[in-house]
Symmetry: D2
Subunit: 275 residues, 4 copies
């Protein structure tokens, strides 16, 4: 046996994994931050005891957050990432040559600092000249922005702790204002097995503000149930109607242009949540 | 804390869940059988310490094993299920009105017996008049059958213990012989995250025997990684080319006719396994 | 891995053991009762998720609760056991030929019922003609008794749940009243490593009522820290001054007449608790 | 939940504790060394996944190894500690004013190095001028010594890995040769619950070489079963016959002169092992 980290994903179910060593552990101003070296998944970031990202499976989340909205928008130039201090979404965003500027706003500078140190494969592009990193409250940043971004990506923790404001109708209204007239946003939306109500509520809230609202899914083995959901709200462009010539080659391990569409084909019980 | 069941899905990773009580535990002639009542997933069948099926998420596996090949075949009448003693696949098979006979061959009668007792929602259709249940070695049953079945479904345990023969090239050759000339078979094929080699090998073996070989996936939260793969080998009918009018309404919670096709759209790293 | 029961003995420390099967699990009127078959300790009784007794190590607790006060008293005839529904203390009490009557008062009849069924080695003497079993509140039974018992043994659970009254000064005063003029009582008093304050408080309370107050210890591997404490309050007879000819042979696995005295020789940090 | 270290003390039983962080982890030339910060026990040294010592309960082991033989010997001047690289036994040895020299021989210099760094309360006396620290094979050191030491203390790991030679008859013969004519040695001897055979064998071997052979016990909550055994072999002085005026005041938390004798009064099933 030895040293194992267990995340109780619900009161009665969880995942457990062998830990070789802790690399850093700290109570930041906002949350408990642990960087651990796991045997199965490589280095892993935990916030408040929940798996955020790991070297081995991070590509799924980061590719699927970034490329679905970026290929949906015809010419994404100015991008905002709220949360995402590990830098994985930024790394994917920069694969799109149309992008001129990518702003990362994470409330917790420690996440950025220790991701750079212990997750260089993920955070390595945070120093790119097109990237601006701000340690600030994403909710406030959104509130102060107007008609500015082509794509906004909400890469938040669960709706407990510092991220609680990022799951409110007011936040989605702010996002709409912060987006340009053909803007699009995506937000991670937890999983349909254990958080059906959350998904339903987010869909309902977003639908009231955005004419095009969609849900898509991806398989992330270290996240609860292995099936993760993402909500898209879009003012004009529909992710289901991207023309073939919009796609261009990028290096990925999960995303493909075929999967771009297939990810929106939901299992029946998931589809029922968003009707 | 209390009583928790942990399945180490790899040497260094696993799932853990609260158990209210054990309902039955027995070393059968073939394997360790445990029926447990879990708080999160309801009653659950374990074989050799591995999760086989649970009341709450069994629908994914059983629907996806059954309906993909059954809707691919234009007129499935005679069906064979190898393994699957819990009865879940049979239950789904019987939803197809074309089916005249469904034979279940499981090597371990105890699995059938205790599934009927503790998993009635799953095993309840094993007494249907169209069903014949045989407690026998599936490998031998296949070897003795010729030009008999429209669809064969291999619902086996992992390739350790009693199921080891069910992952051999000889077995696939036997299946081909047992199928009619336009027959089709499906086999559960573990997961792409931890068992990439197994998937690659099964694909290679099946491709040598069946002109049409495909891989599709589904999300099963209690199985390793949450992403489960299924291999199809078909003599004539391609699961990707089912005409719209072949589908008819059946009651499902996971399968839809849209998902029938989307399930074959693989994440890039999975698609790379089957090239 | 498989099925393991873990008792968190403190918030940050505990024991964990392999469970073959649950034999019975029930929320009784008073507490959660689990009877489990463990691989290491044999059948085991859990109340509210805490180990009460196991077939393999029960002899320590039961012998040490019973024989220390019984050999201290010169002629114990009428004995009361409060709690102890598993019957282990009663079994030891009956080894003393002077005993004419032993009354067991446990508030939870289910503990008695399932101990008889699943712990026959422990509970087997509850049907002895000298034994009276009452399902009743021990606190009330004590309050209604006067000048009646030679020895009272308090074999309670922790001071949470149904046993909370059994750790109060009022209870010790009641015990004094219920005892004859040379009576003696013993109570399990948890462990010095994690519950120093409890031991200190019990000693202080008992000292105010009984002229002779002592603490002794025994090693119980399935109890927190492995070192368990017992408090003695005595009106007249000192357990440290038992004459050699008082002892007689009884069959034991832990208690000896030499250990009778050595058990009162406390490690320094434990002795400091009772000064 | 979070990060927990579990030591399986047997195949089916163990302890589990919350770990705040790992301080150092290394595969040394001889064993896996982990220094962890636990919430319950403070900093803790693990070798090959087994608890060696912790800040909170180390005093029991170190006091009981050192003071029992040192107070038994009338004038211990030259002391050898085999193993014990954490320095705890040395710290206790130096509390005896008669001691002129204490030699520590541990095979693994890394244990010494990281104990100094992370367990300063324990290892802090290794730099005392009376102490000589040698990184060498204790078995060889013993083999090369003759008529040299008053007291030898064997503070080894379990008889697996580097310590396997320290549980052999040849080693005890070497100790006898290395001791002066009235020398005495003590060795940790595991626990009577899970390792009865080991205790029996050690006793048998030592009895063949030393005229006075004794077993004593102490309660160590982080060691298997909470009851730990120590074997004494002595050429002349009997630990049970120390005169009152031999004792002098030393600062301890577990050992007392009364406990010196009481520690040899064994529970019946333990006493039966050494008959």
């Amino acid at each position: 046996m030895g040293l194992w980290f267990t995340e109780k994903q619900t009161d009665n179910f969880g995942i457990t994994m062998k830990v070789n060593q802790t690399l850093h552990t700290e109570q930041t101003e906002f949350q408990k931050l642990d960087m651990v070296e796991t045997e199965e998944w490589g280095n892993m970031l935990l916030l408040d005891g929940m798996v955020m990202t790991s070297v081995k499976d991070e590509f799924v989340y980061h590719e699927m957050v970034a490329h679905v909205p970026l290929f949906t928008h015809p010419n994404p130039e100015n991008i905002l990432v709220v949360g995402g201090g590990d830098g994985g979404v930024i790394r994917e965003v920069l694969k799109h040559p149309s992008v001129k500027k990518a702003t990362l706003v994470d409330i917790d500078g420690k996440v950025i600092e220790y991701s750079k140190k212990f997750l260089p494969e993920i955070a390595g592009k945070l120093d790119d000249p097109r990237v601006e990193v701000k340690v600030a409250d994403g909710f406030m940043h959104i509130a102060e922005s107007e008609n500015e971004y082509d794509v906004i990506m909400v890469d938040s923790t669960e709706p407990v702790g510092p991220a609680v404001n990022l799951f409110t109708r007011g936040f989605y209204a702010g996002i709409s204002k912060a987006l340009k007239e053909d803007g699009i946003f995506v937000a991670q939306s937890d999983n349909p097995w254990f958080k059906a109500d959350l998904i339903r509520n987010v869909q309902k809230d977003v639908k009231e503000i955005f004419p095009i609202t969609r849900l898509y899914i991806a398989n992330i083995p270290t996240y609860p149930s292995g099936m993760w959901a993402f909500t898209i709200g879009s003012k004009k462009h529909d992710p289901l109607e991207v023309s073939e010539d919009r796609f261009h080659d990028i290096e990925t391990k999960y995303y493909t242009k075929e999967l771009h569409k297939a990810a929106f084909v939901l299992p029946k019980f998931v589809g029922d949540l968003v009707k």
